[in-house]
Amino acid sequence: MRPRVAVTGLGLRTPAGAGPKELWNALLAGRSTARTITSFDVSTLAVRFACQVPDLDVSAYLTDRQARRLDRASLLAVCAAGDALADAGHPRVPPERRAVVAGSSFCGTETYESALLDTPGAGALRLSPIFIPKIMPNAGAAAIGMRYEIRGPSMSVVTACASGAHAIGEGVRLIRDGSADLVVAGAGDANVTPGMLHGFSRCRALSGRNDDPEAACRPFEADRDGFVLAEGAAFVVLERLDEAVRRGARVHAEVSGYGRTSDAHDLTAPAPGGEGARRCMDAALADAGLAPEDIVHVNAHGTGTELNDLAEAQAIGRVFGPAAVPVSATKGVTGHALGASGAIEAVACVLAIAECTAPPTANLERLDPRCDIDASPVPRPIARGPVMSNSFGFGGHNATLVFSPAP
């Protein structure tokens, strides 16, 4: 029998706070963290707001010299991973048996843009030697590995907005197949930059509610007009459930199922009817050995874009039946932290299990009548049972995780 996998540590850096309690309280309050950007000049941008992590202080985690060598995405990741390890009680696992799987959608965006955006041409480039190590997509995994002495498998997962969920799922597989005894898995992303705001805006993916940022992210809502760019990081510590119980660890939840599919359809649009998403949820249920009626709550990808929400609602309807399971979309509060979102929402699922509550979906005033799902603007009690989290990325990468209450 394959080993069961426990979540024994949680760590976060989000616009809604730097701890599970802060995130949970913000989700319960259902209040968006989107604000007009003041950290750089947005006057020429079409979209001028986002959800940013306030007052990032890394001094308890890294020396100035270490921090200077990391992009903001990696800094967020190192902090969240450190908190997850501390929350797990720093398990005594030999470094060679520790692993890290770190996701991101992009990496080094701030570094890239600050070095290149104002440069007139390649001939005038004066790049710092730390430019390359700061922008490499594996920088987060490398930084976490160095900081926390992880000498086993160390990998990066880049599947756009599904990266964080895939990172946790692949971490689960490392525990299941015996490749590691402890896995730090999650994602960090920091893309609130002029280029990213402009680029996503040109994709017509972002909400344009500059005059009312807090009302901008409206998952499954009739008047939604796009997602709200965010940044953040979340990491979990994964261990064998039996070993975690033996050492007396606090088991937050079990990761009981993991599904991954791809659409093979379009660079940005989901497959018609959410076909890839439906197969992904089915795969996660099969992996968990659960039936749809066992799931007490679905944390949707729920970006607030026309295309995602419609396809996802259709897929959820096909798996569970019309409006058959309480659905929440965390992004109404946190915004869309791209690669990190699936990891942040994994933590939200673990908290929903602990609190037996499906958090509200912020800004949900009038459900899109085409979205036949059970979403609500208020928190709702749920039974103690398995919870599902969906993440879908540009490129048609799909990931679904199932978390079950600790036995």
């Binding site: 020396t63 010299r65 060598r69 004066r126 710092s128 030697p129 190590p133």
Partner: protein
Amino acid sequence: MTDDQITDVLRGHCARVLGVSTAQINPHTDLREELDADSLDFAELYAAVEDEWGTFADETLQRVRTVADMAAVIRRHLTAVGG
């Protein structure tokens, strides 16, 4: 530029790159042994030197261990280019 001026500029770059105060760097401080400078730190220092004084042949900087070593390389370079 006098040797003292070169040394002062170099100490500033070393302090910035290595995250220490200039007071911790004298001309004969071994940057690797005493201040844990690694290859990436030296790459940053060489980039700063090149930004300041122009491009150097790689091998001229490879054996540098101290600010004094670096200043000597720069002095030879400036003499060669007539600076």
